[in-house]
Symmetry: C2
Protein backbone atom coordinates (compact mmCIF):
# COMPACT_ATOMS: atom_id res chain seq x y z
CA UNK A 1 0.00 0.00 0.00
CA UNK A 2 1.21 3.50 -0.72
CA UNK A 3 -0.30 6.72 0.54
CA UNK A 4 -2.32 8.87 -1.77
CA UNK A 5 -1.49 12.57 -1.71
CA UNK A 6 -3.33 15.47 -3.33
CA UNK A 7 -2.10 16.43 -6.79
CA UNK A 8 -0.32 19.77 -6.41
CA UNK A 9 2.04 21.68 -8.66
CA UNK A 10 4.82 21.38 -6.09
CA UNK A 11 4.48 17.68 -5.31
CA UNK A 12 4.13 16.75 -8.99
CA UNK A 13 7.02 18.97 -10.19
CA UNK A 14 9.54 16.11 -10.62
CA UNK A 15 7.11 14.41 -13.01
CA UNK A 16 5.45 17.25 -14.90
CA UNK A 17 3.00 20.13 -14.62
CA UNK A 18 -0.45 20.59 -13.05
CA UNK A 19 -2.94 23.20 -14.27
CA UNK A 20 -6.50 24.36 -13.69
CA UNK A 21 -8.96 26.32 -15.79
CA UNK A 22 -9.40 30.01 -14.96
CA UNK A 23 -12.65 31.02 -13.25
CA UNK A 24 -12.40 34.70 -14.15
CA UNK A 25 -12.24 36.15 -17.66
CA UNK A 26 -8.76 35.77 -19.09
CA UNK A 27 -6.38 33.23 -20.55
CA UNK A 28 -3.84 31.02 -18.78
CA UNK A 29 -0.98 29.35 -20.55
CA UNK A 30 1.24 27.89 -21.73
CA UNK A 31 -0.09 25.36 -19.23
CA UNK A 32 2.35 22.55 -19.86
CA UNK A 33 5.74 21.72 -21.27
CA UNK A 34 4.61 19.90 -24.43
CA UNK A 35 7.47 17.86 -25.84
CA UNK A 36 7.99 15.75 -28.92
CA UNK A 37 11.52 14.77 -29.90
CA UNK A 38 10.66 12.72 -33.01
CA UNK A 39 10.11 14.29 -36.44
CA UNK A 40 8.22 11.13 -37.39
CA UNK A 41 5.64 11.54 -34.62
CA UNK A 42 2.35 13.42 -34.87
CA UNK A 43 0.25 15.03 -32.17
CA UNK A 44 -2.74 12.85 -31.28
CA UNK A 45 -5.74 14.28 -29.48
CA UNK A 46 -8.19 11.72 -28.08
CA UNK A 47 -11.14 11.66 -25.70
CA UNK A 48 -11.92 8.85 -23.31
CA UNK A 49 -15.04 7.93 -21.39
CA UNK A 50 -14.19 5.59 -18.49
CA UNK A 51 -15.96 3.73 -15.72
CA UNK A 52 -14.78 4.51 -12.19
CA UNK A 53 -12.15 2.32 -10.54
CA UNK A 54 -12.99 0.37 -7.40
CA UNK A 55 -10.93 0.41 -4.21
CA UNK A 56 -8.35 -0.93 -3.70
CA UNK A 57 -6.82 -0.07 -7.06
CA UNK A 58 -4.27 -2.66 -8.15
CA UNK A 59 -1.57 -1.33 -10.47
CA UNK A 60 0.12 -4.24 -12.23
CA UNK A 61 2.10 -2.36 -14.85
CA UNK A 62 3.57 1.06 -15.52
CA UNK A 63 4.32 2.79 -18.81
CA UNK A 64 6.49 5.62 -20.11
CA UNK A 65 6.70 7.53 -23.38
CA UNK A 66 10.42 8.12 -24.07
CA UNK A 67 9.95 10.77 -26.75
CA UNK A 68 6.69 12.50 -25.89
CA UNK A 69 4.97 14.36 -23.12
CA UNK A 70 1.41 13.29 -22.33
CA UNK A 71 -1.26 15.73 -21.15
CA UNK A 72 -4.58 14.85 -19.49
CA UNK A 73 -7.44 17.37 -19.40
CA UNK A 74 -10.66 16.54 -17.50
CA UNK A 75 -13.86 17.28 -19.40
CA UNK A 76 -16.43 15.90 -16.98
CA UNK A 77 -14.87 14.07 -14.11
CA UNK A 78 -15.28 13.76 -10.33
CA UNK A 79 -11.63 12.91 -9.68
CA UNK A 80 -8.77 10.63 -10.65
CA UNK A 81 -5.84 8.63 -9.30
CA UNK A 82 -2.42 8.20 -10.88
CA UNK A 83 0.78 6.48 -9.77
CA UNK A 84 4.21 7.70 -10.85
CA UNK A 85 7.71 6.40 -10.19
CA UNK A 86 11.24 7.71 -10.73
CA UNK A 87 13.47 5.87 -13.22
CA UNK A 88 16.41 3.78 -12.03
CA UNK A 89 19.76 3.91 -13.85
CA UNK A 90 18.85 0.67 -15.60
CA UNK A 91 15.64 2.26 -16.90
CA UNK A 92 13.28 0.30 -14.66
CA UNK A 93 10.80 2.07 -12.38
CA UNK A 94 12.03 2.75 -8.84
CA UNK A 95 9.09 1.28 -6.98
CA UNK A 96 10.46 2.45 -3.64
CA UNK A 97 9.98 5.97 -4.89
CA UNK A 98 6.51 5.38 -6.33
CA UNK A 99 3.89 8.00 -5.42
CA UNK A 100 0.14 8.12 -5.84
CA UNK A 101 -1.66 11.39 -6.56
CA UNK A 102 -5.35 12.16 -6.40
CA UNK A 103 -6.57 14.93 -8.69
CA UNK A 104 -9.89 16.72 -8.95
CA UNK A 105 -12.11 17.18 -11.99
CA UNK A 106 -10.74 20.71 -12.25
CA UNK A 107 -7.11 19.64 -12.58
CA UNK A 108 -5.28 18.86 -15.76
CA UNK A 109 -1.68 17.67 -15.79
CA UNK A 110 1.14 16.79 -18.14
CA UNK A 111 3.76 14.04 -17.80
CA UNK A 112 7.26 14.95 -18.93
CA UNK A 113 8.64 12.50 -21.49
CA UNK A 114 9.97 9.22 -20.07
CA UNK A 115 8.15 9.42 -16.71
CA UNK A 116 6.94 6.05 -15.44
CA UNK A 117 3.20 6.19 -14.73
CA UNK A 118 0.13 4.04 -14.31
CA UNK A 119 -3.02 4.16 -16.34
CA UNK A 120 -5.39 7.03 -15.53
CA UNK A 121 -7.96 5.80 -12.97
CA UNK A 122 -11.27 7.65 -12.88
CA UNK A 123 -12.95 7.90 -9.45
CA UNK A 124 -16.52 7.93 -8.08
CA UNK A 125 -18.49 8.00 -11.34
CA UNK A 126 -18.07 7.71 -15.09
CA UNK A 127 -15.61 10.35 -16.26
CA UNK A 128 -14.51 11.89 -19.53
CA UNK A 129 -11.15 13.40 -20.36
CA UNK A 130 -8.86 14.50 -23.18
CA UNK A 131 -5.35 13.13 -23.82
CA UNK A 132 -2.65 14.79 -25.94
CA UNK A 133 0.43 12.78 -26.92
CA UNK A 134 2.76 12.43 -29.90
CA UNK A 135 2.92 9.04 -31.63
CA UNK A 136 4.54 7.57 -34.72
CA UNK A 137 2.86 4.18 -34.46
CA UNK A 138 6.05 2.28 -33.57
CA UNK A 139 7.02 0.44 -30.39
CA UNK A 140 8.92 3.59 -29.39
CA UNK A 141 5.60 5.23 -28.55
CA UNK A 142 5.49 3.54 -25.15
CA UNK A 143 7.49 1.19 -22.96
CA UNK A 144 5.80 -1.03 -20.38
CA UNK A 145 7.05 -2.51 -17.11
CA UNK A 146 5.17 -5.42 -15.58
CA UNK A 147 5.38 -5.22 -11.80
CA UNK A 148 6.39 -8.33 -9.82
CA UNK A 149 4.10 -7.19 -7.05
CA UNK A 150 1.10 -5.00 -7.82
CA UNK A 151 0.96 -1.57 -6.19
CA UNK A 152 -2.27 -1.51 -4.19
CA UNK A 153 -3.98 1.76 -3.38
CA UNK A 154 -6.96 2.10 -1.09
CA UNK A 155 -9.19 5.14 -1.57
CA UNK A 156 -12.71 6.28 -1.06
CA UNK B 1 -25.58 39.78 -42.19
CA UNK B 2 -24.70 36.15 -42.86
CA UNK B 3 -26.70 33.14 -41.83
CA UNK B 4 -25.53 31.02 -38.93
CA UNK B 5 -25.53 27.28 -39.54
CA UNK B 6 -24.98 24.47 -37.05
CA UNK B 7 -21.40 23.24 -36.76
CA UNK B 8 -21.28 19.81 -38.37
CA UNK B 9 -18.43 17.62 -39.57
CA UNK B 10 -19.65 17.83 -43.15
CA UNK B 11 -20.24 21.58 -43.33
CA UNK B 12 -16.94 22.35 -41.58
CA UNK B 13 -14.86 19.88 -43.62
CA UNK B 14 -13.26 22.52 -45.91
CA UNK B 15 -11.91 24.28 -42.82
CA UNK B 16 -11.04 21.48 -40.39
CA UNK B 17 -12.48 18.80 -38.11
CA UNK B 18 -15.32 18.68 -35.57
CA UNK B 19 -15.38 16.20 -32.67
CA UNK B 20 -17.42 15.34 -29.59
CA UNK B 21 -16.60 13.46 -26.41
CA UNK B 22 -17.80 9.86 -26.14
CA UNK B 23 -20.74 9.17 -23.79
CA UNK B 24 -20.08 5.45 -23.50
CA UNK B 25 -16.92 3.82 -22.18
CA UNK B 26 -14.19 3.87 -24.81
CA UNK B 27 -11.74 6.15 -26.53
CA UNK B 28 -12.20 8.25 -29.66
CA UNK B 29 -9.30 9.60 -31.66
CA UNK B 30 -7.24 10.87 -33.30
CA UNK B 31 -9.86 13.60 -33.20
CA UNK B 32 -8.11 16.17 -35.31
CA UNK B 33 -5.42 16.70 -37.89
CA UNK B 34 -2.86 18.44 -35.68
CA UNK B 35 -0.28 20.19 -37.85
CA UNK B 36 2.90 22.12 -37.19
CA UNK B 37 5.27 22.78 -40.07
CA UNK B 38 7.92 24.73 -38.14
CA UNK B 39 10.72 23.05 -36.20
CA UNK B 40 11.08 26.30 -34.25
CA UNK B 41 7.49 26.20 -32.96
CA UNK B 42 6.29 24.57 -29.76
CA UNK B 43 2.87 23.24 -28.82
CA UNK B 44 1.04 25.67 -26.56
CA UNK B 45 -1.91 24.55 -24.47
CA UNK B 46 -3.97 27.34 -22.90
CA UNK B 47 -7.31 27.74 -21.16
CA UNK B 48 -9.59 30.73 -21.54
CA UNK B 49 -12.54 31.97 -19.50
CA UNK B 50 -14.66 34.38 -21.53
CA UNK B 51 -17.77 36.49 -21.12
CA UNK B 52 -20.60 35.79 -23.57
CA UNK B 53 -20.89 37.87 -26.73
CA UNK B 54 -23.97 40.02 -27.32
CA UNK B 55 -26.08 39.99 -30.49
CA UNK B 56 -25.41 41.16 -33.11
CA UNK B 57 -21.79 40.02 -33.13
CA UNK B 58 -19.61 42.36 -35.16
CA UNK B 59 -16.50 40.72 -36.64
CA UNK B 60 -14.02 43.42 -37.61
CA UNK B 61 -10.97 41.26 -38.30
CA UNK B 62 -10.03 37.71 -39.21
CA UNK B 63 -6.86 35.76 -38.50
CA UNK B 64 -5.01 32.74 -39.84
CA UNK B 65 -2.08 30.66 -38.63
CA UNK B 66 -0.03 29.78 -41.72
CA UNK B 67 2.06 27.04 -40.08
CA UNK B 68 -0.15 25.58 -37.36
CA UNK B 69 -3.51 23.99 -36.81
CA UNK B 70 -5.56 25.36 -33.91
CA UNK B 71 -7.88 23.17 -31.83
CA UNK B 72 -10.64 24.39 -29.49
CA UNK B 73 -12.04 22.09 -26.79
CA UNK B 74 -14.99 23.25 -24.65
CA UNK B 75 -14.57 22.66 -20.92
CA UNK B 76 -17.70 24.34 -19.60
CA UNK B 77 -19.58 26.18 -22.26
CA UNK B 78 -23.17 26.70 -23.41
CA UNK B 79 -22.27 27.32 -27.04
CA UNK B 80 -20.08 29.33 -29.39
CA UNK B 81 -20.01 31.18 -32.71
CA UNK B 82 -17.18 31.27 -35.24
CA UNK B 83 -16.79 32.80 -38.69
CA UNK B 84 -14.54 31.28 -41.34
CA UNK B 85 -13.68 32.34 -44.87
CA UNK B 86 -11.87 30.75 -47.84
CA UNK B 87 -8.58 32.31 -48.95
CA UNK B 88 -8.35 34.22 -52.23
CA UNK B 89 -5.39 33.76 -54.56
CA UNK B 90 -3.89 36.97 -53.20
CA UNK B 91 -4.06 35.59 -49.65
CA UNK B 92 -6.92 37.81 -48.48
CA UNK B 93 -10.12 36.33 -47.04
CA UNK B 94 -12.92 35.72 -49.54
CA UNK B 95 -15.69 37.50 -47.67
CA UNK B 96 -18.29 36.41 -50.21
CA UNK B 97 -17.59 32.87 -49.08
CA UNK B 98 -17.61 33.62 -45.35
CA UNK B 99 -19.67 31.27 -43.21
CA UNK B 100 -20.77 31.40 -39.60
CA UNK B 101 -21.06 28.25 -37.49
CA UNK B 102 -22.73 27.76 -34.16
CA UNK B 103 -21.31 24.97 -31.99
CA UNK B 104 -22.52 23.43 -28.74
CA UNK B 105 -20.65 22.98 -25.48
CA UNK B 106 -20.13 19.35 -26.47
CA UNK B 107 -18.31 20.12 -29.70
CA UNK B 108 -14.61 20.61 -30.15
CA UNK B 109 -13.09 21.54 -33.49
CA UNK B 110 -9.76 22.11 -35.19
CA UNK B 111 -8.82 24.66 -37.84
CA UNK B 112 -6.49 23.44 -40.55
CA UNK B 113 -3.40 25.67 -40.92
CA UNK B 114 -3.94 28.90 -42.85
CA UNK B 115 -7.75 28.99 -42.52
CA UNK B 116 -9.14 32.51 -42.08
CA UNK B 117 -11.28 32.66 -38.95
CA UNK B 118 -12.72 35.06 -36.40
CA UNK B 119 -12.11 35.07 -32.70
CA UNK B 120 -14.01 32.43 -30.71
CA UNK B 121 -17.27 33.97 -29.44
CA UNK B 122 -18.81 32.37 -26.35
CA UNK B 123 -22.63 32.41 -26.18
CA UNK B 124 -25.28 32.71 -23.46
CA UNK B 125 -23.09 32.63 -20.35
CA UNK B 126 -19.46 32.70 -19.24
CA UNK B 127 -17.63 29.82 -20.90
CA UNK B 128 -14.32 28.05 -20.53
CA UNK B 129 -12.33 26.27 -23.20
CA UNK B 130 -8.92 24.88 -24.13
CA UNK B 131 -6.85 25.95 -27.14
CA UNK B 132 -3.96 23.99 -28.69
CA UNK B 133 -1.71 25.73 -31.21
CA UNK B 134 1.98 25.77 -32.17
CA UNK B 135 3.87 29.04 -31.79
CA UNK B 136 7.44 30.26 -32.11
CA UNK B 137 6.77 33.76 -30.84
CA UNK B 138 7.37 35.44 -34.20
CA UNK B 139 5.00 37.36 -36.47
CA UNK B 140 4.61 34.13 -38.44
CA UNK B 141 2.38 32.80 -35.66
CA UNK B 142 -0.64 34.64 -37.01
CA UNK B 143 -1.67 36.94 -39.82
CA UNK B 144 -4.55 39.39 -39.42
CA UNK B 145 -6.93 40.93 -41.93
CA UNK B 146 -8.87 44.04 -40.96
CA UNK B 147 -12.26 44.02 -42.66
CA UNK B 148 -13.43 47.13 -44.52
CA UNK B 149 -16.96 46.31 -43.48
CA UNK B 150 -17.60 44.30 -40.32
CA UNK B 151 -19.40 40.98 -40.66
CA UNK B 152 -22.51 41.26 -38.52
CA UNK B 153 -24.16 38.16 -37.11
CA UNK B 154 -27.48 38.16 -35.28
CA UNK B 155 -28.14 35.26 -32.91
CA UNK B 156 -30.09 34.40 -29.82
Amino acid sequence: MILVQPLTTEAFAPFGQVFTAPHHPGRTGPLANLENSRLTAKGVLSMTCAEPATSPLSVTKLERHPYSSQAFIPLDLAGFLIVVAPKLDNGAPDLNGARAFRGTGEQGFNYEPDVWHSGFAVLERVGRYVVLIWRDGTSNDEVFADLDQPIRIAFR
